[in-house]
Amino acid sequence: MESNYPVKGKDQVLLNFERGTESWPLSSYLTRGGYSTAKSVLSGGKYDSPADLVGVVKASGLRGRGGAGFPTGLKWSFLPKEPSGPIQLVVNADESEPGTFKDRVIMEENPHQLIEGCVLSCWAIESASCYIYIRGEYVPAIKRMVAAVDEAYAAGHLGEDIYGSGFTCHVTVHSGAGAYICGEETGLIESLEGKKGQPRIKPPFPAVYGVFGYPTIVNNVESIAAVTYIAHAGADSYRQWGTEKSAGTKLFSVSGPVKRPGVYEVAMGYPFKDLLENECGGMLDGVALKALIVGGSSVPVVNAEKALKINMDYESCAENDTLLGSGGVIVIGEGTCMVRTLMTLLRFYHHESCGQCTPCREGTGWIERIVTRIENGDARSGDIDELYRIADNMELRTICTLADAAAWPTKSFIEVFRDEFEAHIEQGKCPHDNQFPDHLNLRGGGKPQRHADPEHAFIA
């Protein structure tokens, strides 16, 4: 099986560079064959028509890497045949889901592959303009992307009449202000237009009515970066990795008490067990696996037993009652208070709810307050069911899925770790004394183990 997934090496789809080297300048990208695909596609030598390329992306089985896993080629084909205005491409680089930090690696270390992906995607969907919306806190990523876009313009890979092909593509890097909700595609669009980032009621979907009212495709950074490979190597080549329904490779950002947290590119279907043992070097010494949030903070948590059964693909996650999400792998070690963990997550959703829909605006704060009471030992036995009931009521009743994203972890934490909630109530206090374990080094309290050989050192 070893050869079935790329781990390290130049033939990787996304992390196709020697890590730890200066991989981000244009000169480095060119040594990896950078922009050769764009040249051959734009000159008309590679595909007969944009529809051809859309077909290849469809055939590749690429599914959106932003969380929902919607087939990218299919999404592209929803663009109206007679568009009401110039088609827009928006790259969603808002990456704000707790636990997810994979797009930043692409932007910081391999920005030109994203830009080439933008050019190719624009060519496929017949768009001349692309926005890359980056979360405000990602200052290094913003700097790298801006520098790379400048380089690409200067070298003629972007702009008017690229390579004399007659094709024009402009890329604008736009910085958000640090709001999770601006990662939801229509919230992003509102924000991009200069308004308060609040998701729009749908339909119409962005493909019909997007940025400035124009037909718009919104895709995740990783999806667009993968298009570069797919356009270059073809659908079959991409499908050499992964499973029938989860094709290709995927980035996973692993955090938690593992020896080497970081971002790894593996083939879909790669067992979590192997990811943990091989790539991440296993759990920290003396810390056992307790639970796993496999796809970013919004997906249901699973216990260790189930975690070890998961393969990193959509089907296997579904079989194990969770979701692949955006690939933000949060490993939870033994000794971690699950009530406190949930409280921390819910504080995030409470803080980030945009506040338009009643159930989300009122519910996120409400469940956070209840969990906080449980954590503080100030709860009654009925509170657990009450918490579950309220979370359940938040589901499916809102404009976007942020409310669901707060409800799912809540329900799953209760389902999987109900005994811990009960212990808080029975003891009238947090059995962990309101502390996260030392190995997390969150409060600066105890002495953390050092992470050996960190996979990434991010430099601005």
């Binding site: 009401s84 237009e193 009621i201 009471r373």
Partner: protein, 551 residues
């Protein structure tokens, strides 16, 4: 594709134009879907989640109905051919109760001191859809409670359910962009835009459309509990728009005026000037009985004597005499019908025109207010008081005739004749040349100081009638207040004058008058349920892009 679609709502079939929202289609079969943020006069926002129903779309290929993946909000879902909507299932009821629960956890529930109590949508729905006692153990979120938004509106952030009706109003209807929602999540509050003084002509509408008591009017705060108010359908006379209104009163005085939906006239809204009109009404000086300056009648004649005398004077003018009639754009259509008949038929033929009773007010704008500060010029003319009908003599010509001493009897309805002279003195000097001046009026003015006979009539709040606006739409106003003193109904008084002048009134009853005027039978409709609203048709229903691209 046909432009009509047929669907069922709770089993009732209804056919509506394509593009109609389910919530509006439901109204047509008498199904009221509960909601807070939806307002037919505003772009849809879909934020409150109250109007969720079980909406099943028909899939022709599968020959099956499919439920929506995420439950649909009916304010935003288009009615589709063969759609099935269920608004009364256990699931839907649970959904509503859920939304109610979320709305109430941070609501102060201070109904006993809230001006909206009694007409609050939250209160109404609470009774219908939740009805549970609040068992919340969590501390409620606190927000600013007494925030002035300009001089007329006070904001209470704790009562606010963040439905965005007020901000949509300022963004899309008044287009003044005064209000916005700032902050996220449950910290969100409505704020006045920096630098805005919220002093435009339409601010009070935000209080009417606020589903709760978060935006109260300084003019109404703590004045009256609404359940003590009587409500009478009325029409605003502040300008020739004729906004349809509801007058809230206690028979003796008006406490507030609210807009009433009338799609082709005012849509859903009205201006602040129209709301304040009751104050100037209360401030007018009136006479409770006829006043005479004629020796044979004495200073305080009885109605019978006064009418007989006036009829006699008018009767003398029957044969081509020198009679001038100056009507008013404040008369009802029915009154104008009788006055026109009196001037043209009973007295054979008189010079006639209409004066400008009120010349000051809000300037015209492109929302509602017009530049004529009187309600019924169009209707009065149409009903028969036709300017210059005899000899082409219009008001200016009549004024010349008065100055030349050619007018023997001058019959004036209402106030404001002095508006047509340089000064009150000039008016007094002119009318002194007329031997008989008879004024029928609901308020005393400079003319009342000199007229030979002043006959008090009821004002718009004290009588029934119709006005026709500048666009030709007729609206009905009804008697709200007890008449002042012996003031008489204008229609009935003018009819009696026809008889006193030796003629016959044109019609017997008010109803006959309306028939004769071929009035638009819709003129007393309370609400038009077709979901269209005349004034906002030109704009995108989609809130996000009203300014740039239209969908």
């Amino acid at each position: 594709m046909s432009d009509q679609v047929t669907l069922t709502i709770d089993g009732k079939e209804v056919t509506v134009p394509r593009g109609t929202k389910v919530i509006e289609a439901a109204k047509q079969v008498g199904v009221e879907i509960p909601h807070f943020c939806y307002h037919p006069g505003l772009p849809v926002d879909g934020n409150c989640r109250m109007c969720i129903a079980d909406v099943r779309t028909w899939n022709a290929r599968a020959e099956k109905h499919f439920p929506a993946r995420r439950p649909a909000v009916t304010c935003w879902t288009d009615a589709e051919e063969n759609m099935q909507v269920f608004t009364d299932t256990d699931e839907v009821k649970k959904s509503r109760a859920t939304v109610m629960e979320f709305l109430l956890i941070n609501h102060p529930i201070d109904c006993p001191i809230c001006d909206k109590a009694g007409e609050c949508m939250l209160q109404d729905h609470y009774m219908q859809h939740d009805g549970k006692r609040s068992e919340l153990r969590e501390e409620k979120i606190h927000k600013p409670r007494l925030k002035p938004f300009g001089e007329r509106i006070v904001y209470n952030g704790e009562r606010c359910i963040l439905c965005s009706r007020c901000t949509r109003f300022t963004a899309h209807v008044s287009k003044t962009h005064d209000l916005g929602i700032v902050n996220r999540g449950d910290r969100a509050v409505v704020e006045l835009a920096q630098g805005s003084t919220f002093d435009n002509a339409y601010t009070d509408n935000v209080s009417d459309i606020c589903p709760v008591g978060a935006l109260t009017k300084t003019d109404f705060r703590f004045k009256k509990r609404v359940w003590f108010l009587k409500h009478t359908d009325s029409v605003c006379g502040g300008c020739s728009r004729n906004c349809n209104t509801v007058v809230d009163h206690d028979r003796a005085e008006i406490v507030r005026i609210m807009p009433r939906r009338r799609d082709e006239v005012n849509g859903h809204f009205m201006c602040n000037e129209g709301r304040d009109i009751y104050k100037s009404l209360a401030a007018t000086v009136r006479t409770s009985a006829p006043i005479s300056r004629v020796d044979e009648l004495g200073a305080g004649p009885s109605w019978d004597d006064a009418l007989a005398w006036a009829g006699g004077k008018l009767g003398e003018q029957k044969k081509g005499g020198k009679l001038a009639v100056i009507g008013s754009p404040w008369m009802s259509n029915e009154e104008a019908l009788v006055l026109g008949h009196l001037a043209g038929k009973v007295c054979k033929s008189a010079w006639m025109d209409i004066k400008n009773d009120v010349i000051e007010g809000y300037p015209a704008d492109d929302l509602l207010h017009t530049d004529d500060h009187n309600p019924n010029r169009a209707g009065v003319i149409a009903a028969g008081v036709v300017p210059g009908k005899k000899d082409g003599k219009d008001l200016a010509a009549i004024q010349e005739a008065i100055a030349a001493g050619e007018v023997e009897v001058l019959l004036v309805w209402g106030t404001g004749l002095a508006n047509h002279y340089d000064s009150v003195e000039a008016m007094h000097e002119a009318v002194a040349k007329v031997p008989v001046v008879i004024q029928l009026t609901d308020a005393m003015d400079a003319l009342s100081e000199v007229a030979q006979l002043v006959l008090p009539v009821r004002n718009w709040a004290e009588r029934d009638g119709t006005w026709t606006n500048f666009e030709g739409h007729t609206s009905r106003f009804r008697k709200a207040l007890r008449p002042h003193g012996q003031a008489r109904d204008g229609f009935e008084l003018l009819s009696a004058m026809c008889t006193a002048a030796g003629g016959k009134p044109p019609v017997k009853t008010f109803k006959d008058a309306r028939k004769k005027l071929k009035q638009d039978p819709d003129s007393d409709v309370r609400e038009v349920a077709d979901g269209e609203f005349a004034f906002y048709k030109g704009q995108s229903l989609y809130r996000h892009h009203s300014g740039t691209t239209e969908v």
